[in-house]
Assembly symmetry: C2
Homo-oligomer: 166 residues x 2
DNA sequence: CTTGAAATACTACTACG
DNA sequence: CGTAGTAGTATTTCAAG
């Protein structure tokens, strides 16, 4: 099977995307509840052609999934906290144990290994001060191999998106 | 308009959700590309009844939107960096200026005011070391009112979700 | 006020040019 | 890639709980 579609700046590894593919991704990234026909109209393509591209983008893994974004506050998870961790010792076992346990922390939405003065950063959603205090005392402090836990409570969410530049 | 549907643990402010609503949200949060009929089957409801609930959840704002999640690496944004900022002075004007400028940083996906030793945390997606170095030198260091910029490069993304517990 | 059944309109999807 | 046709879905209407 030969690919005929070309991009202006072909980078390797990634499937080659033309202007229309990028337009499709740009739209779906912001609203994927739109029907295929109106998406096709937006990118000036016939419906089947548009659908074929969307399916190809899904199969290629470029579209990882389609999800509903919920209102955290309405669901009693209006408080966001950034947490930095320093581990006792930097051994593979220590890291593995921490990572396994970290994924089970209630409301943990992100967890990353980082360079610098912390070993891990975690983002946790919880209800309020009380619930975070409980989480802190009952879960965070008991994560294996932790020497230091530093919490940065989010006072205001300036920007929160998932949209990548295209 | 009065709501009659009741939940076991009614909290105020949030619209009251019953077991079925939560099941719907739980499913859509993980896969919103599913058709309404199969969603209805999963939550053991007729298609129209299910659709009505979904629409209500959208109108109430509880479902903020439906979006496609893209593969960052395939799109040349495989590098994630957590950045902490300390501002020169803590005045309303300083903060406002920073926030306005921060939203324009290329690849900035999150930005929050936090308590503690930093004033802001920002999450940025970029391509690689080179592109981040450029971003750092050309944009981050020029953000208004910044005294200190501390970057934590993400070496490994352990967990990254948007799903809230229901 | 919510539900399910039937009917309609629209959309996704397939085959073909 | 587009056109035309088919299959299935979303959406409305309505009667009932």
């Amino acid at each position: 099977m030969k690919l005929t579609r070309k991009s202006a700046a072909p980078r390797d590894g990634a499937p080659t995307l033309d202007r229309i593919d990028r337009a499709i991704l740009r739209h779906l990234q912001q609203d994927a509840s739109i029907s295929n026909v109106s998406l096709a109209a937006k990118v000036k393509l016939s419906a089947p052609a548009c659908l074929r591209r969307v399916e190809r983008l899904k199969e290629s893994g470029l579209i990882r999934g389609v999800v509903a974004l919920l209102d955290a506050r309405a669901l009693g998870a209006g408080m966001l906290v950034v947490i930095g961790f320093v581990l006792d010792r930097s051994t593979p076992e220590t890291f593995a144990a921490f990572e396994k346990a970290a994924q089970k922390v209630s409301g943990c939405i992100e967890c990353h290994v980082v360079t610098g003065e912390f070993d891990y950063f975690m983002l946790v959603r919880t209800r309020d001060n009380d619930s975070f205090n409980r989480l802190h005392a009952e879960q965070l402090l008991y994560l294996p191999g932790v020497r230091q836990v530093r919490s940065f409570i989010v006072l205001k969410e300036i920007l929160s998106t998932h949209a990548l530049p295209l």
